[in-house]
Symmetry: C2
């Protein structure tokens, strides 16, 4: 099996009500790859990165990805340019953030390059970046991957509506947050928004609700994955991308991808996302262990399990 991860690779500056960092490894491709790596390693799957950085990018950060089994053959390094930079500030309610600086830099003219060894990919993750680039990567693959997962953000929905809509039509899973779902569907109620979005093309829709968990929809079913009730939270950056990494990391194991597989996938995604927010940037994702992941999954499962049967005729 082989996963191709397309996404941004950046330096981030992050402020929260409690602390801040000025320059830290970030970007959707980084969070997604690191999260997925714990699952691909175990299933002996390839994890192929497509992205671009500037000459200022740290060799140690590339080495870090490689140590996690990420193939960087598709990572372009533009020596005379600067890496993508994002600065954001979170409020007490960390579901909300202000973007303070976006310096596209090397992303401005990003022309994604697909190495021949990537062409056999069965899973394609279109991390959040320009929908034109997401589309280009689909077009540059000789055959359609078995599963295409797309993430996008407000920024692109506002600036590139038509292209976002075109990409949505071609993917299997759309993974977005509450506000994005409402914007795309132009509908406030999520259960209604979900059906509108599914009618656009995707087979599955994941609506991430931060500290409130995630909803999974297909045309006939709904599932709810809780968020782990953390005692401390440091930085929500990348949690949604880590979620996708965990979800797809699970799906790689599945022969065919049913709603039941998706249910387990969003539980895994939620577990991995809960680690992500515990430290600044991808710090926590870098140092996970199988034991810690297994324990968190069990805690998440316990959160929604009850022994007593609520039978079909509770009142009779």
């Amino acid at each position: 099996m082989s996963i191709l991860v397309l996404g941004s690779i950046s330096f981030d500056a992050i402020e929260t009500p409690f602390s801040k960092v000025d320059k830290i490894l970030g970007g959707s491709a980084v969070y997604t790859s690191l999260a997925a790596s714990y699952f691909t390693k175990q299933s002996h799957s390839k994890l192929n990165l497509v992205g671009v950085v500037g000459g200022d990018f740290l060799k140690s950060d590339i080495a870090l990805l490689q140590q996690h089994g990420v193939n960087t053959a598709g990572l372009q390094i533009k020596q005379n340019e600067k890496s993508f930079f994002w600065k954001g500030r979170y409020h007490y309610d960390m579901n909300k953030r202000d973007t303070l600086v976006v310096a596209s830099n090397v992303m401005e003219k990003f022309d994604p390059m697909i190495p021949p060894s990537y062409q056999d990919c069965e899973f394609l993750i279109l991390g959040s970046l320009s929908p034109s680039i997401q589309k280009q990567v689909i077009n540059r693959l000789n055959k359609r991957p078995r599963l295409i997962v797309m993430d996008t953000i407000d920024y692109w929905i506002d600036r590139a509506w038509d292209t976002v809509m075109k990409v949505i039509q071609t993917v299997d899973i759309l993974s977005i947050n509450e506000a994005e779902a409402r914007k795309i569907a132009q509908e406030y109620m999520l259960a209604k928004a979900a059906q509108k979005i599914l009618a656009m093309g995707p087979r599955y829709l994941v609506i991430k609700k931060g500290a409130h968990g995630a909803l999974l929809f297909d045309k006939n079913h709904t599932f709810y994955a809780p968020a782990f009730p953390l005692k401390d939270m440091t930085d929500p950056t990348g949690a949604g991308d880590a979620f996708t990494g965990g979800l797809v990391g699970h799906l790689v194991r599945c022969a065919s991808i049913s709603f039941e597989d998706m249910k387990v996938g969003v539980m895994i995604g939620s577990a991995i996302a809960s680690f992500c927010v515990e430290k600044f940037g991808p710090e926590k994702l870098i140092h996970l262990t199988q034991e810690a992941i297994n324990k968190r999954i069990q805690q998440l499962v316990a959160l929604v399990q009850f022994k007593k049967e609520l039978s079909g005729s509770y009142l009779s």
Copy 2:
């Protein structure tokens, strides 16, 4: 078995982004009683109301409560006074509301009266009203009920901190929303806030998160009940009170009240609350059927059930 429900009984005026009503039956005791009535009827339990209304209160509304099996022997009618009136406005995010008018009227000098036939109550629900009145009712019972459930709101936490704290120390279950939990614990993270609140006295804490479900805590366990993803929502007024009615309606059936019983109880509470918000005021709660309740419970259970086992060693 016998439940005593103390709470407000009011006329409400409600505005939402989509519609409004000028005068509708409301109050915590009304929502809680109506919700509980479907369960007490089935378990042949008594449902005893304690409250006060003015001479302007409608005989038809009293008859309505009685038709639902609510004993109104403890309902005082002050002919020369006006009933409690509340006016509120909801935003698109209906988890947030502004209180526009609070006219205490007859509630100002409410001196709760406990009919002798109420003295054997095993379950006491202290609906949201002045904590002094909540305390008075506990004191006026000859023996402590088997279970005391307390709800309170921002308004009382801000204005009667010391008394709220005193009542909290004496109850078994505290049922509040996210903002109230953070205010009482003076702690933002809910998992930490919960432990602080449990250390104050209650055996169980329910934190209601509106459209995001509810968290249940004891000192060693956490459980998450999802909210039903509704396609339409009309008016969230009283949903939290209906939740408590459903929860206690279930607990009446339980021989001893374990965490497992509480899990089922919060699922039932969430199911009933999801009905409440579908129409203005208590309209939907008035016309529920056993069939509709059973179906909603099943839908809620299905929302968090998955077939595939996430075993203790998912990664190995």
